[in-house]
């Protein structure tokens, strides 16, 4: 465990400019050069004011104060030593003043600095100083706790800024979320900070939710039990991690958050709430059934919110035995073309796969899902098309009666597709009388992986289902990558060239451009 990680010397050297380094060294070597410290602090102040790069000053100050803390030069013992001269006391008080000044400067840098790199540098400097202070406290008597909670509170206050969203800062705060004591104290501090009034400014709410999301109290954190500030032997009980206590805090925070709910709640806040709920809070809640109303309301909102709510509902159904009547209808309504352009589509497919995994579902319901998926696959980007094709294949395997969608008993001709795409109730969509023509059309898709995937309906169905989890996370660039790399392995013959020599930029035959463009 290394609570303070001063970056390696070489790294520092490259970052801290020469002048600053010299000054810092001089100051650390002799107390006489105290003016240097003031100059450095002044430098930082100026940099913040003029929006210059802060990193060198920040790093210098971090090193200086870490050293000072280590030397205990700012330490105020309970019983004042007589030997201490007045000059020394004066010097110490001066140092402490400078320390507070620096701290405030850094905090303001966190809040106000526009450049995310500098801000997160300031944040990490603060955290490192905090850790150093935890190890070498400046006051003994003042606080019984080793963990400088006050300082952390200051940082968190800055993170929950009203002025702007701080996703990058919070994500850089995430690296400290692996320390159990940081997480614990964060929850503790947040429980007193989260209030109802926070919704009035959207930024605070979102920052708060982001922050909560960044400090999940999951199993790995608890098991590893890494500490940023090592506990002293005589640390009081309260300092040790206590799950029940923390859970209480979490519950209190969530209850406060729930009070935010109101009709004109911003959609982004709502969505973030659901994410936080699903990813951090839900396992720690004492009475999750209370969430039902919230989730039901959210289900009706549409888009990503309802998808996330659906996942919450699913968890409730799975673990807490609630029943929800129209869940398939809701699921059905979520398959809209917009879904491919949201971040949560993998979640949707995953959930849909689970919801539709039962073989006891009515066939016309499943058929409706299949037809809807097939329709969407004609619009979707290739990677989603592949997922949907395999999903349809899986559904076919689960409900062998639905083979009639690809193997009709008679090749009867119909003028229009019996399936009604606009019907919201899957059971009434009449999909069972339709056929999966869309997949046949997809066999002519330009991208070979899609075309091959669509060919499954003209072949005998496999025995085993396709594993969707492997392809859920595939992106466009993955397909691109795959196409460009697999082709390298294959034979040269693959580099087939055109054989009609073009004399201009237009093709000698079948040119499509000259009709529509006047280019030259």
């Amino acid at each position: 465990m290394a609570p303070i990680e001063t970056p390696p010397a070489t790294n520092l050297k490259s970052k801290i400019s020469k002048g600053l380094r010299a000054k810092a060294n001089d100051f650390l070597n002799s107390k006489v050069k105290s003016k240097n410290l003031e100059e450095i602090i002044q430098f930082l102040d100026n940099a913040i004011k003029h929006k210059e790069s802060l990193t060198p000053a920040l790093l210098t100050l971090e090193v200086v104060f870490t050293q000072l803390l280590k030397r205990k030069e700012m330490f105020v013992s309970a019983n004042k030593q007589e030997s201490e001269s007045e000059a020394e006391t004066k010097y110490r008080d001066w140092l402490r003043e400078r320390y507070e000044q620096t701290w405030n400067l850094m905090l303001s840098a966190i809040e106000n600095c526009e450049k995310s790199q500098d801000a997160s540098q300031a944040l990490s400097c603060c955290m490192k100083l905090l850790a150093a202070e935890g190890k070498y406290p400046i006051n003994v008597s003042e606080e019984p706790l080793n963990f400088p909670r006050k300082r952390l509170r200051g940082i968190i206050e800055k993170l929950l800024s009203e002025n702007r969203l701080m996703p990058t800062l919070i994500s850089s705060f995430k690296e400290f979320a692996e320390y159990l004591d940081v997480v614990q104290n964060c929850w503790f501090i947040l429980s007193s900070m989260v209030k109802k009034s926070m919704t009035q400014t959207e930024n605070v709410a979102i920052n708060c939710l982001h922050l909560i999301n960044a400090i999940p109290l999951n199993k790995s954190v608890q098991d590893n039990a890494k500490l940023l500030v090592a506990l002293t032997e005589n640390a009081p009980e309260t300092e040790h991690f206590d799950y029940a206590n923390t859970r209480k805090h979490i519950n209190r925070i969530w209850n406060n958050i729930m009070t935010w709910l109101e009709p004109n709640l911003a959609e982004s806040v709502h969505r973030q709430m659901l994410i936080v709920l699903l990813e951090c809070v839900l396992p720690h809640l004492e009475r999750p059934v209370l969430l039902t109303d919230f989730l039901m309301d959210s289900l009706d909102c549409g888009g990503a919110v309802s998808l996330l709510a659906l996942q919450g509902v699913f968890t409730l159904i799975q673990k807490h035995n609630i029943t929800y009547p129209n869940v398939y209808e809701k699921l059905y309504s979520m398959f809209e073309p917009e879904i491919f352009h949201t971040k949560y589509k993998a979640r949707l497919f995953y959930l849909a796969d689970i919801f539709l995994s039962s073989t006891h579902l009515p066939e016309n319901l499943v058929a409706a899902f299949m037809k809807r998926l097939a329709r969407l696959s004609l619009i979707a980007p290739p990677q989603d098309t592949v997922i949907m094709l395999q999903f349809i294949g899986n559904l076919l395997l689960r409900h062998l009666g639905l083979k009639r969608l690809i193997c009709a008993t008679q090749a009867t001709e119909v003028s229009t597709d019996p399936f009604n795409m606009h019907e919201s109730d899957p059971i009434k969509s009449n999909a069972i009388d339709s056929s999966l023509w869309e997949i046949v059309a997809l066999q002519k898709h330009a991208i070979p992986s899609v075309a091959t995937a669509a060919r499954f309906i003209s072949q005998p169905l496999p025995k085993k289902e396709w594993d969707l989890s492997e392809i859920l996370e595939i992106k466009e660039d993955d397909i691109f990558e795959e196409e460009t790399t697999t082709s390298n392995k294959k034979s040269k013959q693959q580099y087939a060239l055109a054989f009609e020599k073009p004399e201009t930029m237009f093709l000698p035959k079948n040119d499509q451009f000259q009709r529509h463009w006047s280019l030259i």
């Binding site: 003028s415 529509h516 030259i520």
Partner: protein
Amino acid sequence: MAKKTKTSVADAVYAKKAVKKENPFATATAATSKKLNPFEVHMNKEKFQILGRTCKHDKGLPGVSRAKAIKKRKETLGQEFLRKDKTNKFKDRRIGKFLTGDELTEQVMAARFVADKMERMKQNKHSRFNLNDDEVLTHRGQTLEEIEQFRDDRSDDEAEEDDKLDAAFTEAAHFGGDDSAAKDRKSAIEEMIAEQKKRKVEIAKEKDELYDLTEKLDSNYKDLISLVGKMSKNEMKKQEPDDYDRLTRELIFEPRGVVSDKLISEEDMAKKEKERLERLENERLRRMKADGEDDESNAKPKHRSADDLDDGYFANGVEEEDGTLTYTMEGELGTNLKTRSADDESEEDEEKAVHDEDESGEEEDDDDEDEEGEEEEDDEDDDNLSDLKVTDSEGEDSENETEKPVKDKKPKNTEVNKKPNVERTDLPFTIEMPKNYGEFVKLLNEYKMQDQSIIVERLIKCNHPKLEGVNRENVVKIFAFLLQLVNDKFSDAGPDDIRENFQFLSLIMPQLFDLIHLNAERMSNILLDVIKEKYAEFKKNSKQYPSLEVLVYFKIVSNLCSTSDFRHPIATPCYIFMQHILSKARVKSRQDIAMGLFLVNLCLEYGHMSKRFVPAAFNFLTGLIFLCIPKRPVEIIKIVPPFQNQGPLNKLLAIPTDAKEYKDIGEEPLKAEDLVMQLISNDFKVRSINQSLQLIQDATTLVSEHVGSNFLVSPIYEMLEKLDVTPYPTYVKENYEKTKTLLTTVVNKPLTKLVPPEKKPKALRLLEPRIETVYDDKRRPKLSKEKEEKVKMVHKIKRETKGAIREIRRDTEFLQKIRIQQQLQSDKERREKVKRIYAEASLQQGELNALDREKKKKKKF
């Protein structure tokens, strides 16, 4: 007949002699056949003749077979008996020890010799590595060396002579009859011999002399040889060649015609070209199909014969060509009627478009404030458009060339390339390979744009890989340079120079094509790397359209690669790239719309042959129509991203329904400037909607034959229904109606329910005739198969034991015979010995008696 066979052969032998046949040769036996001694032949009588049975035992030669058996016993059992009770044994291990007489061929002897040598080699270590064979080869007892030493050149012809008798002698000795015959024979022969010897000696002497002389001459020849040479050179003056000689010489030395390919006539050339194209086209079609994807026409032959065995042969062997490509008689690509007519239409359209362009050239310039600066250029462009079909190299300057019909363009190509060379003396013929890109650009910038392509062409020619191995790298470099140049030209192209850049691209396209054919793999890889790089750039911000050069690269790929392949290392990534752009990038400006249309156009071009589609292109076209619809603020029309149904961007191309000023805008295709300009002008609105309608038509025809294409085009159809075309010019309205009717037919195309592919009827299993052996013997009870077998075996064993016992008996008999013979032999010897001893003894006794008697006599006396 039956009677005849019953009579013994012995009788038959005599009967044959007795009965006189009409044909005297009928009974003739081959001279070589052995005559059977009738007394040695034993006949077995056959009670019944059974049909189909060959009787082996009807006659036998007991004497012969007995002799054979005895001989065999002598060789085996007899030998063993002789060796009985003896410890030593003689073993023959030679190769072919069982061979005798004629069987011992040369080969066997050679093998024995080799084996013997090997054996000796093994025994003697010294000789193992001795390369000089110790074996001394001999010929008639003399070593070859000796023979070599005493070889005499003269001795060769001796042998012939001494055997021959001269004619006179023969005449005298054989056929003579004159008086000398009266002499007695002995003296005559002696005389003859003496004469012969004398003659021989004379001949020998003569030969010796001759030999000496030749030797002498030989030794002197070397002195003389120098004289001979000199004389021939100096004094043998050449005669003045006369006409005849000269002619002869000429005829002799005239270069003979080298056998070469016969001159290829134009028809042959065309035929060859056609064959080549057909081959390439077939390959392309094969690649176009996915593995395992059946061509629809092949999958369902229209008629199935009852004899169809599913072995790949169809009773109706000739497949009818459906939508596939065919060639007309001139070797040009044509399609079947349906597509053909479509092509014609499109060609007409094209011509019309060009025509319109010509007409509206002036007014268009007036309309566009932005483009005023390039009036002259536009004029030039119009020229270009009118003779687009002419190659670039001839396009610019040579007026006389442009008048020539397009047809014989190809064979002329080389000529055409040469002609301007003479005219433009300022262009260097050989160009040094520029070392880096900077130099390359500098080199090109020294010339006019039209000359640049010639420079590039010459550069390629100078660095053709066939000339030198290093050039292989050089051509790759040139290719990379050109791509880089395209990149630079298009990445920061403005409205002023965009046309120029496209012209440049047009000029270097044939060069790029030639280059990539020089080393397909390397250059394709370069092209692919460029596209990869561009894709990586695009990925960083996929919401924004990439810059123009990316589209140009796609176009280059379209021109250079076989984009119809099912999976192609370059075309497929390009497809993915294009669909990524179309589905993700936000449409914000004129440039974006133009680029999107360009991409859709590219997608259609890529898939033109293979009829493959990209859904994103359809989405984009739907979105574009969506942009044209003027929306009321509350109205929300569902639309697929990247288009948004809210915000200011959703009415980019919309025209208010009551607007009047759009009616007069002339029809024209999209312009190169649209790709670089941001502001959307009124004429662009009309232009883009018009062209998108046409593109929709193209796209719809592309997929119209696919099953399920209804669903692909139905969103476009629905969107089109919402569009109000009243404010647009008439040609847009016409186009709109045309598009709509086309879409209606596709949307309302009847659907046939999917049925599994018809299963091939299984061939009936043919039954082999099953033949059972029926044993119907009444004398024996019926037995099961195993028992039958067992009985058979027992019977066999019985017979074999019998035979074995007989053999053993014969063996003992034979041995007894030997023994008794030995006994008799020894008895005989003993008896003779006894006799002799007795004889000797009696003789002795006699002598003794005689002595006694004499003694007695003496006593008496």
